[in-house]
Amino acid sequence: MPKVKNWQLARDIEYPYDESRPKKQWAIVFDLNKCIACQTCTLACKTTWTSGKGQEYMFWNNVETKPWGGYPLAWDLRILEKLGRQDWSANGEYLGKTLIEAAPPTERVLHFAPTDEDWMYPNVGEDDSGGLPSLDGGAHMASLPHDQWFFYLPRTCAHCTYPACLAACPRKAIYKREEDGVVLIDQERCKGYGECVRACPYKKSMYNPYTRTSEKCIGCYPAVEEGIQPQCVVNCIGKIRVMGFINPPWKARKDNPVDYLVHEKQIALPYYPQLGLEPNIYYIPPLNADREYLKQMFGPNVEGALQRYRELSSDPVAQGLLCLMGSSDKIINRFEVKEGRATGFDRDDKEIVTVPVTEEIFVRDAFDEKLEVVRHNTP
């Protein structure tokens, strides 16, 4: 089996096809400290793409509460349990096996097959907290991480560099687009064997029982082709997301928003990188949650990422970029922060939007002399 480079694991991994990185790689960065699980992203996706027959249960984008939530049921626990304990070296190299390396001889990918029932509880575990089993004497939230904690995890397809779905399809009906790295199921070739549904550990391939083909998040590629970010990103009311194109670390550009957050500042991390697929959705981990849990989900660089995130208040460039998140529906190819203002530029290097890094404060008197009225204290 060919060996391919997986920078998230700092080593080469086995994959059934040769390394073939796309010209650009679709990616989203999520700041989990800001997500409130309003599910606006979920509904934006739902109403755009999955309102047809057989798609009733589909949430190409979903938001689940960790640690107890998961759609389909316990998707992450079940694949982690199958993989068993794996370790990282002290310098961040993954010593364990990936899902493809751990596959039995009869399979292409180590997997579990979700049943019909597993798809019936899209928001199970909502707002259920983990941590200490009792709150005797009241909760103490004065320090981080909290004893009692939960966080929201919004998820789309990760349009992996080494997709398990693509590896598993015996019909070669799944392909990764050269122009943007979006992974698609060819709806003309798919026969609905469900191998991708079994193989994707994130469970983002879904079988449509009406069309008898499998479907998945398409990364809103029709929008992306026009330089516009996906529906789940542009509709995020918390402005927790930014979509762009990530480069591998050896080609990273400091002025690319995604590269900056992932490679330059190293505050955004891939989720479950140990599964070996080089997923391309990245998370700024939550400050409040249990560190061991976060390490299991985001790998060994969690502590450093959180530390750097807490130090952003002294970094005007990073602050500027966080202010640009959610400030435009256009894909920001390049950004710069100058004199307290952050500007995003599109793929033609035309200015898209400029925002202040710190909002100016206006103080208005309670009484308006000109109109002789009392002002209400509302925005």
Binding site: S51, G52, K53, G54, Q55, E56, Y57, A103, P104, P105, T106, E107, R108, A113, P114, T115, D116, W119, A168, P170, R171, K172, Q187, E188, R189, C190, K191, G192, Y193, G194, E195, Y207, N208, P209, Y210, T211, R212, T213, E215
Partner: protein, 293 residues
């Protein structure tokens, strides 16, 4: 095959299914030896409609072929689920019918998530010649002609393709796009825009007539083709499927089995209840020679 055609065939099956008369006593004698050479004799019966319980099958020679868990590519089964298929064949000068029987402890139609259908397939070399292509679904430049029956496809032909309300009777859906209970909805074409497989014309997404005709040049290459009037009908009784597949002897552009011809045949069986689908199947590991008399 267009959909009108499929509907007509579906109706044909309903008729056929309805008039079938018990017929357990008509089953063929137990096979006594492995099938080394499939000799297809001409019979007086009209074979255009598949009938697993037709009396004449009791007089047709039967033999069994050995199957094993598909070993060539992953994903594959860990163990063989179907180790033999009993084969009978006859022709009427226009059609050839193969009657295939195998053990399967449960009937599986598929439909809902994570469900798979019982199925059987037979393949013939598309081109003539003494040497058949690879038994692994042919090879580049040397294709095979496959007839693939699924219990799921048969249900389509008899009952129609199930709506979501049939698959999930307890589910509640307010409405689908362009599809309203109390007002005129969109055209069929407009509705199908919301079903990706249908919108791009994938035959998998449309109602089936029971049997898919497929051409393949090796694993991963199979593609459903315009059919040549092939048909199939299966019955499941007492832990055993009996399926009759009927095809033209001389389909235009298909595998030729004209009287006097020698060819080859291979088989595959899927047990849906064991989550077998696609490359997870039991297959014959070698071709069986066929002589059409």
């Amino acid at each position: 095959m267009n959909r009108t055609h499929q509907t007509l065939l579906g109706l044909l099956f309903v008729g056929c299914f309805g008039c079938r008369n018990g017929g357990e006593e008509a089953a063929g004698p137990l096979p006594v030896e492995p099938l080394t050479d499939l000799v297809v004799e001409k019979v007086a019966e009209d074979l255009s409609k598949p009938d697993p319980d037709a009396a004449f099958w009791g007089k047709v020679r039967a033999g069994w072929v050995t199957l094993a868990a598909q070993p060539f590519i992953t994903p594959r089964p860990e163990a063989t689920t179907t180790d033999r298929v009993t084969v009978q064949a006859a022709h009427d000068g226009k059609h050839i019918a193969l009657r295939l029987r195998w053990k399967d402890s449960e009937i599986s139609h598929a439909g809902r998530l994570g469900e798979f259908s019982d199925a059987v397939a037979m393949q013939f070399p598309l081109k003539g010649g003494a040497e058949p292509p690879s038994v692994m679904m042919g090879a580049a430049g040397n294709p095979v002609h496959i007839f693939h029956w699924r219990a799921q496809y048969q249900r389509d032909a008899i009952e129609g393709k199930p709506e979501m309300t049939a698959l999930y009777p307890n589910a509640q859906v307010d409405m689908y796009p362009m599809d309203f209970k109390d007002a005129k909805g969109g055209t069929q074409e407009q509705k199908e825009k919301f079903s990706p497989g249908m919108a791009v014309g994938n035959p998998q997404s449309y109602p089936k007539n029971g049997v898919d005709e497929i051409v393949a040049e090796g694993f991963s290459t199979s593609a459903v083709q315009e059919g040549h009037g092939s048909a199939g009908l299966g019955v499941w009784r007492d832990g055993e499927w009996t399926v009759v597949l009927v095809r033209s002897l001389t389909p235009e552009g298909g595998s030729n089995l004209a009287p006097g011809t020698k060819s080859h045949v291979g088989f595959a069986v899927w047990q849906g209840g064991k989550a077998e689908v696609g490359s997870r199947k039991s297959v014959t590991m070698q071709w069986t020679p066929v002589t059409v008399q």
